[in-house]
Symmetry: C2
Subunit: 129 residues, 2 copies
DNA sequence: CCTTGACTTAGAGCGCGCTCTAATTCCTAT
DNA sequence: ATAGGAATTAGAGCGCGCTCTAAGTCAAGG
């Protein structure tokens, strides 16, 4: 009933984490199974309890997903992060590669959008008559 | 051999059209079945012959697809075009709606890309030590 | 005690956009 | 005449990223 009344249990329920992060409950569990999220605490009941760190990580996931990184790539990145310090070069390479892909895609979308906008202005002229 | 009255072989084969347009042969046929392409000439053998107009239309399809318009939306647009003149307002509305969606998505990608770039510069510092 | 409701899991299902297969026909060259 | 290669069709298959279902556990309220 009350979503957040666990004085001894720190952390958000999966429903609250979903609401806070903008990712659905189903998707949060899916990400965990897919190896994108790990180490989420559990209450005595076995229910997940998301920490602030978990939420911050989910925000990273969102940035990667919404810029089009495939699940596989994100999993690779997550694995590097969980390995701990020492592989920063690899993480950097992965992110730089992604950055290049996103920039290329942005450029292409801008080009094609310009085409669409030219078509729009043609129709605007026609309709204005 | 009978004299050939009108050699209607004045278009590209599907293989050539694929090469010229950057869309696969399979996808060209799929687009036709899906209602995105219509009115392609046929040789006496039944083989497709793509005209310059067809290629120009395929270029439009590419612009819409690569800016993320779903097949359904493109089909709607195609139907409006095939209906002929008189529905320019509808076409315009459809394209304007698409433009808004693309711009919104571009803005979001830029935001999330900026986040990734901040992460990159953090790793660059770490690696530079 | 019993119901309600949020949670758990493994696994099935879905929508999208291709991508490929199989069986067949047709054209061209040797 | 025959072999090869390119085209045709309907329909199956695939990879992705969710999204949902079924069956069950658990805690609290009436």
């Amino acid at each position: 009933m009350e979503p957040n009344t666990a004085p001894l249990e720190t952390g958000l329920t999966i429903a609250d984490a979903a609401e806070a992060s903008g990712v659905s409950v189903h998707t949060l569990r899916y990400y965990e199974r897919a190896g994108l999220i790990g180490g989420v605490d559990r209450a005595a009941s076995g229910h997940r309890r998301y920490s602030e760190d978990d939420l911050a990580w989910i925000e990273v996931l969102r940035c990667l997903r919404e810029t089009g990184m495939p699940i596989r790539g994100i999993r690779r990145y997550a694995e590097l992060v969980w390995e701990g310090e020492g592989n920063e070069r690899e993480r950097l390479a992965l992110l730089e590669e992604h950055r290049a892909a996103v920039r290329a895609q942005l450029a292409q979308v801008r080009t094609h959008l310009a085409f669409v906008e030219r078509k729009i202005s043609i129709y605007e002229e026609k309709v204005d008559e």
